[in-house]
Amino acid sequence: MTSNLIVYLIAIPLFSSAVLLLTGRKANKWGHLLGTLASASSFGVGAYLFTQMLAQPAEERAMTQKLFSWINVGSFNVDASLLLDQLSICFVLLITGVGTLIHIYSISYMSHDLDRRRFFAYLNLFIAAMLLLVLGNSYLNLYVGWEGVGLASYLLIGFWNQKPTYATAAKKAFVMNRVGDLGLSLAIMIAFASMGTVSFDGIKEAAPQTSTATLTAIGIMLLIAAAGKSAQFPLQAWLGDAMAGPTPVSALIHAATMVTAGVYLITRSNFIFDAAPTAQLLVVIVGAITLLFGAVVGTAKDDIKKALAASTMSQIGYMILGAGLGPVGYAFAIMHLLTHGFFKAGMFLGAGSVMHGMNDEVNMRKYGALRKFMPITFITFGLGYLAIIGVPPFAGFYSKDMIIETALNAGGIKGILLGSAALFGAALTAFYMTRVIILTFTGTKRWDDEAHPHESPILMWLPMAVLAIGSVASGYLFTRGDALVHWLEPIVAPGEHGEHAELLPPIVVSALALTMVLIGISIAVMMYVRRPVADVAPEDVSALTRIVRQDLLQDAANEAIFMRPGQSLTKTLVSIDEKVIDGAVRGVGAMALGSGSELRKTQTGYVRSYSALILVGAAAIVLGIWVITQ
């Protein structure tokens, strides 16, 4: 009967969100509390369900709750049905857990905002949608959540939409996500057309009998979807701009949860990708490119949130890479996802805390020496930092190390390429994160006198502390006895650990990775500790740096390839519609008018010319009769 509880996971925050939105200003006083309570209750339900699952044997842990028959047309039958299994419970706990922490954080962070109630309504809406995403038992149910989080993301990025750039950022995120949705839509269509079902179970059953070409097509479409949602190459451009949203949003949606939905999608679709090697190859390529892309972009960012966003992109690249590496990779990808959820959310909240103390300044070049003023923030942020660069025994070390190892062991030239990309990415990660730490917390102060940096209130640092604990401990907990791998086994069914001969033994890989991290740190130290940091970004930099600062020209490329041609196409079509199509319509009218005014000239007003015409007509008729009766 516990399965009947699943729906409350979603219903509680959804209801709370509706209440907050519909009640209006009257709810301003207690809105944030209701929102937080809703999220926390959802977490409570999730935790209870988790304990229930733990009590079951591995094969019986998955629970399904059918709510009602949603769409039932011909052979297209989709139930509104929820599936809670080992994979989704991970996400449920992450979403509601981190979500609740961020709700608590936001109570304080948004306390001066007039629209705090609305903010909490959106957050709750997001929680509900994200839970639906991970709990849906079919691709179509997932799709609803998928777009729901897109909507919530749009609303939250544009939360301060009175600033035009923020509104544009929101729109950009939504539209680029829609490109991803296109992939998801098509994947569902192909799946239905070829297998006659859209539920995970049905497709899992049908997949072995389906042709590889079809599965590859579905896989590629799913990859597009994942790329859109998870800001993977080539649909990555929206994530940096998405930092326009309030910082808790960046922490929850654009770091810990929503952007990782792509990883969930690929992991969930493991039965498709496992049978479609080409699609899988594309997945790892996209992952590898993005992990480097994000890391490179991160090295040149002065905006602390954008630096973290680039880092998110890069870390998700790791996850996608892991998920693309086949059966064993899924678990590592999820593991990295969870650890990343802790440390990245923690760091984002730390960044928010810094901004909170610095009059919402985001430029790291205007920070410096904040360690003394914000000790708790520094410690929590620092722990997150150690976790992300992969220093043992922090969480990131375990998860990232696994992915690097799996990549290296992928076999052949592919393994070497992917492995080196991952290793190089680790070095870059160490570099840019060290840079963030140095610029923000150490060195000399570079801020104006107007700023009065101070430690944040407890409601803000408490969640940061909890997340910091997570970043410290989670990696160890997950890997202890391969806990997570075994937990996920029924879902992703990893075969033997490593189908290929191990390229390098694990210990060597770890050492290599650590070396890379050290190299990264030392370069950063050399560049930013030994030399003074300018409070304005230097202009006399190499062309490469400039390109990196412009996000490797991603916006320029999008503009040149899609936006400008699109705009001119729109303009052309508008004028074609007016001139050619409507012109033809109006032309018919003008022709009638024109021929009328020409014919009018025959109307001389002389009765006699009219009668002459009648006579001619009569003669013509007689002629006609004459000819016919000939």
Partner: protein, 99 residues
Amino acid sequence: MNSANYLYLSALLFTIGAVGVVIRRNAIVVFMCVELMLNAANLTFVTFSRINGNLDGQIVAFFTMVVAACEVVVGLAIIVTIYRSRRSASVDDANLLKR
């Protein structure tokens, strides 16, 4: 004698009447030409009445006469009205309907 001769005559008179309507300018003459055409038509009816051996044609001719009378009465009244305002009975002078 072949009754068709009357038909030929009728056709000729009708045509002449039609030409008259077109080329004469005096409204009264135009009207007279119309009368000529009506009469030509009447002749046809009468002739066919004889050919077919029943009186229906004559009835129609009779009706035609009545209609012609109506037409003359109204038409001439119009001519008088126009003449009163324009001091002319020429149909070319009443050309307000032109573009």
